[in-house]
Symmetry: C2
Subunit: 251 residues, 2 copies
C-alpha cells in the first residue's frame, strides 16, 4: 500500500522523529511505499488564506471554502498545496505524527489540514462520512503527550483521551470517510526515561507488522443520521461524543 | 477592565470581522480598554520553533518547553512573541474570535497559543488549573460554524459541541486558570442569511453589556484531583469529558 506520514516536529532528533523513522523503516521493509511530509523541514506555510490559490474566484473578498472549491475546479491551487494534495490522494494509509500540544495538533499540522483538506477535494456537499472521498482508506494519529496516561483516563484530570481526540478523529478523518485506527500514543515523554521510550518504539514496530488486520473505531454512518442533522431516534449513540444525556457546560 | 481580542480571519469583511468589531465597539463604549491582535493582518508567524527565542538553552537540540522556560527566565523571547505575551498578561478578559475549521481553531490561532502560552509564562509545574497564572481572569471563545446548531447537539451528527470544545476550554483556558464563559457561537454562517446574521450581532452586543455578571462554566479544581492524576474517588465527574463509564473507542 501507499503510506503518507505527515510529520510535525521542530527537532529531527526528537522522540517523535524516532517514531516516524521506525514507521518508515518498518513499513518499507514490508514492501509498502512510504512518503513523508516533514512539515518543519519543508518550511510548510501553515496559514490558510489567499496564498492557497493562484487564481481567485472573488478577488475582493476571500472565502476559504469558496476559493478552495474554485481552485479544485480550475486546477489552481498554489504548488505547495497541490503537492500535498497529490500525496494525500495517493495514500491508502495516512499517519499523522506529532507532539500533542494543548490537547491538539501543532499549528503547522493543523494548517496542513486547513489548506490541504480543501473543499471540493477531500469533502463536498453529500461527500462526507461513509460517502466521503477517503472511504476504504485508513488513517491513524501517532503522537507524544507529556502527561501520563492516567491523566487522560475517563476520570483523569485532563479528561478522557477519546473525547479529547474527537475533533480530529471525527471532525477531520471520519468525516472525510477514513477508517480510523486507534491512536498510537507515547505518554510521559520524556519523563519516562530512555528504556521506556525504547520499549514504546519496539511496541509500535510490532504493531505496524499487523496493522493491516486491525479493526477501525466505530463512527455512525449516514444511515444513522437524520435529515435534521441528528442521529435517528432509533439509533443508540455509540461514540465518545454523542449521547442523549444532559449537557453540563452549555444551555 | 482590559480586554484582549485575538482575531483570526483572512477576510476583514467577513462575519467574523463584524463580530469582532461589535465587541470592540460595545466594550469600548462601556469604558473598557480593548486591544485586538489581528493575526492575519499582523502576518503572525504561527509556527512554534527555534524562531521563538533569541537565545538558545540548547543550540543542538530544540525542545519547545525547555526553550520557552529558558526564554521566560532570560527575557529572550522573539519580539513578536513577547509583544503578544505582554498583551495577554495585561488582559483581564480574553476573547478568541475565529471561524471554526475542522472542529477546532484555524492554524494561525493555534500557533498563537503554541508560541504565546509559553511554559514558564502561562503555566509551570504546579501552576495549573485553579493554581494557574490566570486565576481570577476570564476567557471566552466566540466563533462561527458553518453547520447548524442541531449538528452539534448531544446526538448531533458532529457530536456534542461541549465535548468538541473541551480541548480548548479545558486544555488551554481552564488549565491556565481562566474562568471560562460559555462560548458565543454563530451557527450556519453564511447559510442562515443576512437577517439572521444581524440578529446574531445584536444578541452578542446585548450579551456583552451584562457579561460581567455571567457565571463561568464548571471545571474540577486541584482539590478534586488526586496525586494519581485522576479525580478523587469521592468526586463525581461533572464536566463534558470526565466520566466513570466505559470507553468506546480505545481499550
Amino acid at each position: 500500500m501507499n503510506v503518507l506520514i505527515v510529520y510535525a516536529h521542530p527537532e529531527p532528533r526528537s522522540f517523535n522523529g524516532a517514531v516516524k523513522d521506525i514507521a518508515v523503516e518498518t513499513l518499507n521493509a514490508q514492501g509498502h511505499t512510504v512518503v513523508v511530509s516533514d512539515l518543519y523541514a519543508q518550511g510548510f506555510d501553515a496559514i490558510a488564506g489567499p496564498r492557497d490559490v493562484t487564481q481567485r474566484l472573488d478577488p475582493e473578498r476571500f472565502n476559504l471554502g469558496h476559493e478552495q472549491a474554485h481552485a479544485a475546479k480550475t486546477d489552481s491551487f498554489a504548488p505547495a498545496v497541490q503537492a500535498e494534495i497529490d500525496k494525500l490522494l495517493a495514500a491508502d494509509f495516512l499517519i499523522l505524527q506529532f507532539p500533542m500540544w494543548w490537547f491538539s495538533l501543532p499549528a503547522i499540522l493543523k494548517g496542513w489540514i486547513d489548506r490541504v483538506f480543501a473543499f471540493g477535494v477531500t469533502y463536498d456537499f453529500g461527500r462526507t462520512w461513509d460517502n466521503g472521498v477517503f472511504t476504504g482508506r485508513r488513517a491513524m494519529l501517532s503522537f507524544t503527550a507529556s502527561a501520563p496516561a492516567a491523566a487522560f483516563l475517563p476520570d483523569g484530570k485532563n479528561g478522557d483521551m477519546e473525547r479529547v481526540l474527537w475533533p480530529i478523529h471525527a471532525g477531520v478523518l471520519a468525516l472525510c470517510g477514513y477508517q480510523v485506527l486507534e491512536p498510537q500514543i507515547a505518554h510521559g515523554i520524556p519523563f519516562v526515561g530512555e528504556k521506556a521510550m525504547l520499549q514504546m518504539l519496539d511496541q509500535y514496530r510490532k504493531r505496524l507488522h499487523t496493522i493491516d488486520g486491525e479493526t477501525a473505531m466505530f463512527f455512525h454512518d449516514s444511515k444513522d443520521m437524520g435529515d435534521d442533522y441528528r442521529l435517528k431516534a432509533s439509533v443508540k449513540p455509540a461514540t465518545p461524543a454523542q449521547h442523549r444525556g444532559q449537557r453540563v457546560h452549555m444551555v
